[in-house]
Symmetry: C2
Subunit: 300 residues, 2 copies
């Protein structure tokens, strides 16, 4: 008789709720945990199993953490009431937040000491792909860890990139990707508004550039938000001071000068400072527009 | 009886030679001019028609200028022995250099005063597509000008974007595109070397990022040059201080703050300062590598 994989998803925000729902759909037994009781209730209504972490932890095969950052990851794993000390030996933790590689290595060591496996597994793809079980995972960890988490990876991801056999490279690759995406979105905003000063309209910008050498995945994905004046957050401005901050922290530790991503970070900080943090990250274009007296589509 | 279009291509560098050759292949009568007599001789050997500009200008339907910048464009059109005063009324000039929109408008006005049509027509695509007649042209000018230059556009381009009915928007769109491409190449270099400090090899970078949200056309096109340690110039570092300089000049005139492209420009200037100006623009990665003690593929 095949045993159903029992997994807890900690963090039921826009990404975690999609991950937990995808795992349900894949036939796993899924417990959802969040500091927001409404999110938990919503997940139970969807088919999630009820229970407290303290009660169910000893029976779990895996814990997937889909929280905001390193501090939250450490808190839910090792803080008061944290999961790792409650898990059985041989259970596996999969950590999905974007964190520094050094932090991932430290978490792996602490888990191993508790007899628990650890997968350094940042995710990419956004809430829609999370809900569809179509995320990309940039993962590194031992072969046993990958094997233990196979049902989880199968349920939530369409692409799993195996970056190596210990924690660190997964988070490193995620930081590299975020450097690129963060710069590309802000550069799209810079180029789009620069073009407006010369009479190039945002829709003409989108039409021509997506067929030209200047295109990027991020540009093709985010420019329509500006053209359509739709800043409902598919991915928030707030993500970027965090993720480009991680990039700059890693760079500083490595004595690596990263001036372009540093410049992009300033634009997202300005967007936060203007009160746009909870808007879609394409709203970084509003910083450029306000700095140069331009009116974006949908503005008076 | 159909009359063969007679065209002069001024500037037989890596782009101009390809344009002139494509026009030959399309069946036009093509004169090639360059300050380098070897380039002219090479073009005549390929089938170009011999003749001095002074002798043939009165008989030309069109002049295509494929020179480096605004100063050279103005010199070959209006300087000593320049083409425009020699052309018959109704002939057309097609200007392909990357220039400021204001310069393009000034050239159009000067041409119109001489009874000559003017197409603001920056090109994109690189030397290989130039040789294949597969360039993209970001063009603006009157309908009559487009019509007069149709055989030329057909012979040299696979995509012609009509940006508007007067000079300016073509050059504006080219500047927008160059802002993006210039930033994307330098950001690829920043991300690739940043990754190396965290143990991500350049080939792993290429493999993963081209399938991830961090990808861009420029990244996919240039990263292999670094992975293969091939810096033979498909497009030189020297292009970017020129083109991002034009971007910054336009931005300054418009009181538009463009910090990300300004940061990217500094990296290309550093590459020039390190003596890498004539290498492929992917060599901007060497600036990052030298600043951080990294060895790129092919380096000791």
């Amino acid at each position: 008789m095949t045993q159903t994989t029992k997994v807890a998803v900690i963090g039921l925000g826009s990404m975690g709720f999609g991950v937990a729902s995808s795992l349900l759909r894949a036939g796993l037994t899924v417990y959802g945990f969040d500091i927001n009781p409404d999110a938990v209730a919503r997940f139970v209504a969807k088919g999630g199993t009820e229970g407290t972490l303290a009660d169910v932890a000893g029976d779990l095969d895996a814990v997937v953490t889909v929280v905001l950052n390193a501090a939250q990851t450490e808190a839910v794993l090792f803080g008061e009431g944290g999961a790792v000390p409650l898990l059985r030996k041989g259970a596996a933790v999969m950590s999905c937040a974007t964190v520094a590689p050094d932090f991932a290595r430290r978490m792996e060591a602490a888990c191993l000491e508790a007899g628990v496996m650890y997968l350094d597994a940042p995710i990419s793809g956004g809430p829609i792909r999370a809900a569809d079980g179509e995320l990309s995972v940039l993962a590194s960890g031992t072969a046993d860890t990958f094997a233990a988490l196979q049902p989880v990876l199968d349920g939530m991801a369409s692409h799993v990139f195996n970056m190596g056999d210990e924690a660190g490279p997964g988070s490193a690759m995620k930081a590299v990707n975020q450097l690129l995406v963060g710069v590309h979105i802000a550069t799209m905003a810079e180029a789009l508004t620069f073009g407006m000063t010369q009479g190039v309209t945002p829709d003409k910008f989108y039409e021509i550039i997506t067929k030209s050498a200047g295109t990027s995945w991020a540009l093709e994905n985010r420019t329509p938000h500006i053209v359509d004046a739709d800043y409902s957050p598919k991915s928030q401005v707030n993500i970027w001071p965090k993720d480009l901050g991680i990039v700059q922290d890693i760079a500083r530790s490595a004595q690596f000068s990263a001036p372009i991503s540093a410049a992009a970070l300033q634009m997202y900080l300005a967007a936060q400072g203007m009160g746009l943090g909870a808007e879609d990250d394409a709203a970084v274009a509003k910083v450029y527009a306000r700095q140069s007296g331009l009116k974006l589509p949908g503005e008076e």
